[in-house]
Symmetry: C2
Subunit: 498 residues, 2 copies
């Protein structure tokens, strides 16, 4: 027989830009998603889980994030010729599902969805090509009551996820107010919607860069243009100083109270019906939210919210975490945005030709988890199982009986299943597993009807700081009757948590 | 400006072979996975979530299912040239992760994983290209105590998932016993493992077809070969009648007790060390399981388990649901397999060159859910929210306050967000939402400090069968003080459940 040609071994590597999640990272996210789902459910939203794969045709070619226009999808061609791709968000599949099943779905249709999405972009530090999204959307409700509801739900969700009141703020803005401002500033002509499209594009991109460029940078882009540090020149929208100031006044209209903010905005859009409508929408939302007890400490009208204004068509909202963290250079900065959304009324139209009103929010689950980790609000490590050691290889049935009793009592427990020859290895294993307790039953103990119990948490503490007297007074290893196994182990676990 | 060319509208269609899950189907699966995860966790298994995407190189080209050798993966080439693919199961990623992180992982490493996998196969009725798997594996434990543990855990898992004892059986077999049988039957020569490889392949394929061909069909394939109904002839393994009978005796060795079964198997493999080792492994597993209280009504030694024998290297297990259902032609049949697994010792070797023992199980979550549905053990429809109707468009804040109170009390509730003009549409909506209660507050009620409550469940019952007297005695719509809202709604919800 011919020798089999030796194949080179495959590399054991996570593909570039992807990552694996272990243990507590998986369960913490799963618990957070469950908690969020409960809030969504209570608000009357129904779960929807679409497949990860869509036809490229249904997905469309354009991604919603204004700041990442070039990013792509993972796509491949079927044998029969259709192109398929992994979903890049949860909104495009919702649009497809709503168009496909609209005769069977309630109207309005409130749905939530959670799961991974994929972006075919260049991987970078902290930038992954697969990540979780967690969305809630209402399709078919034109009233801003739907937007207010989403904001209230977002506030509840953040608190349920572990962000206390005061550590976050949901900020609300409205694209129609900006349209009114643009009309007053002379770059939007209601009688000829296509006119000044280029200028408006520059205005939108300029205000979207507020975070990065600051007010002066935006002002330059609204006017003649701006030269950046490298000397590159970016053309501006060509607004005169007065026109530009109207846009600037919009972005900085935030006042101490919603009433004052709305009054300022109302003043800015005088004579522009679309802007007046936008201010009224914000007023209605503020009223509805106040009626439900959501004050400005939770949800606030804030025209400095500029992200997504280019994409959304009415109310826009963003949830920011307001506590400070240290960035990679040790400087204090606010944690920033963890969720965003707004009204988008044209998504279903691609499929059906009919405009369907829709509004929704997307929570960045992984960022929210990172925030909780920063605040130390997440158990850094999950507790490991009670480890039952194997003293006598032939008595595996005895050890299995011990774990079975513990598990039946709801206690996480396992038998050491490696080679039991070296007992030190078994304790090292228990250590690596974060085991709170090790159980030891040698032949001699078996005969006397007892077992040895090792409190590994106490043991670790004692090893750090205890005096000899303390060692004697609080032994971390002791003998208990075999018949007391479950009760004693439970006692120790409770004392460890105290 | 040039007219924009009209693009044809995209089709709103789930891609072929994929499907969408709505509402209760999503939450039922999610709850089942949570319950299963709790059992896995209690057994000391840690969660692992790998990315959906792997390099084709790491994935390998071969799928584990013997009965679907031609099925492929969804793959695409990166710009830089690497080929990536969607995972087709959860075992291949485990092998990659274990090889990659083996220095940081505990040894043995118990892990569980749950999530979708993708198969690029021809879609057919009931055959989807994305489905859920839910796996638990122990890597690095050579002892069959690890296999016994998996079987015990599988039994616990099925019960937690809602399959009562008596409605399922975990069957255990062992590939080594079959190897012993093949040695005795003359198609395995321990001194020349390559010899008779073709014959053994035919034997494996033959017994794998037991379900479909029956004993006589398998016997024919073990011998000279078999002509099927279409006249096609399949070559047999060429065993003589006596040799074939040894293999047949193996498959039918199941006796009323495990002891009797093991005695029969022991007799069959006399003189074949590998077979004797296999029988001993089954004996050890039976002892360990008995010590933990798992009797033959839950886990049984059964050599008729032939699925996966070609893939696994030691113990093989399969969980079957034993209750009968009606198939599509109205005939009674057992529901069948919902989980399978076994020992596979060579998976990591591809990467590292070192053989690492491993054993595990994979639960077919969607099949398990289908089984619960068949048995009527799953709420056919989740209860909808309390629907607060909108009588007066200008008093949206009042209605929002009502839902906010209900939600704060943990009651699922929503305001009708569609166009409120037609009240009939609002009640139709409540019906489509499976709403248990509709709340109505007109201006006149508002003034009097009352609200109308409509018990939609009672209403539907009464509409079906009630007499006029009953209608009067148990009105399904009545007035309550606004201040009693939460208490009364809760009472009605409780009475509906009773």
């Amino acid at each position: 027989m011919a020798k089999v040609k030796k194949q080179p071994r495959p590399k054991a590597e996570t593909p570039k830009g992807f990552r694996d999640y272990f243990g507590a990272d998986v369960t913490a996210r799963s618990e957070m998603l469950q908690n969020i789902a409960q809030v969504y459910h209570r608000y009357g939203f129904d779960a929807l889980e679409t497949s990860a794969v869509e036809t490229v045709e249904a997905l469309g070619k354009f991604l919603p994030d204004v700041d990442r226009p070039n990013e792509g999808v993972f796509a491949w061609q079927e044998d029969e010729g259709d192109w398929l791709a992994l979903r890049y968000d949860l909104t495009a599949p919702l649009a497809r599902v709503y168009a496909q099943f609209r005769n069977d779905l309630p109207l309005p249709y409130r749905r939530y969805a959670m799961g991974p999405v994929w972006r075919n972009e260049k991987p970078g530090p902290g930038r992954f090509r697969q990540f979780y999204q967690c969305d809630a959307d209402t399709v078919g409700a034109a009233s801003v009551a739907a937007d207010a509801e989403i904001c209230a739900m977002l506030s509840d969700t953040l608190e349920v996820a572990g962000i206390p009141r005061g550590d976050y703020i949901v900020r609300v803005n409205n694209r129609k107010v900006l349209n009114g401002v643009m009309q007053v500033a002379g770059v939007l002509d209601p009688s000829d919607p296509e006119k000044f499209a280029a200028e408006r594009g520059i205005v939108l991109r300029a205000i979207d860069k507020l975070d990065r460029l600051g007010l002066d940078g935006v002002r330059a882009l609204l006017g003649a243009g701006r030269k950046d540090a490298s000397g590159d020149f970016t053309d501006g929208a060509g607004l005169g100083p007065e026109q530009a100031e109207i846009v600037m006044a919009f972005m900085t209209a935030k006042a101490p109270t919603a009433e004052a903010t709305l009054a300022t905005l109302g003043g800015l859009v005088q004579g522009a019906p679309v802007g007046i409508e936008g201010v009224q929408e914000l007023e209605t939302m503020a009223e509805l939210l106040a009626a439900q007890g959501y004050a400005a400490d939770r949800i606030d009208i804030d025209p400095s919210v500029v992200r997504g204004l280019g994409y959304y068509t009415g109310p826009v909202f963003e949830a920011e975490l307001t506590f400070e963290i240290l960035d990679e250079k040790g400087r204090k900065r606010q944690f920033g945005s963890v969720a965003g959304g707004g009204r988008y009324d044209d998504l279903v139209k691609r499929f059906t030709g009919q405009s369907v009103p829709a509004t929704g929010v997307s929570i960045g689950v992984d960022r929210l988890l990172a925030a909780l980790r920063e605040k130390g609000r997440m158990g850094a490590q999950a507790q490991g199982p009670v480890v039952v050691t194997v003293m006598d290889r032939d008595r595996m049935a005895d050890y299995q009986t011990i774990v079975a009793e513990l598990r039946a009592a709801g206690i996480r427990a396992e038998v050491y299943l490696g080679n039991p020859k070296n007992f030190g290895n078994q304790l090292k294993y228990a250590d690596r597993r974060n085991a709170p307790i090790a159980v030891i039953e040698g032949g001699e103990e078996k005969e006397r009807g007892v077992i040895q119990v090792k409190d590994l948490i106490l043991g670790a503490e004692m090893a750090k700081e205890a005096s000899l007297e303390e060692w004697k007074a609080r032994p971390s290893q002791f003998e208990i009757p075999r018949s007391d196994l479950v009760a004693k182990i439970r006692d120790i676990l409770v004392s460890q948590r105290g």
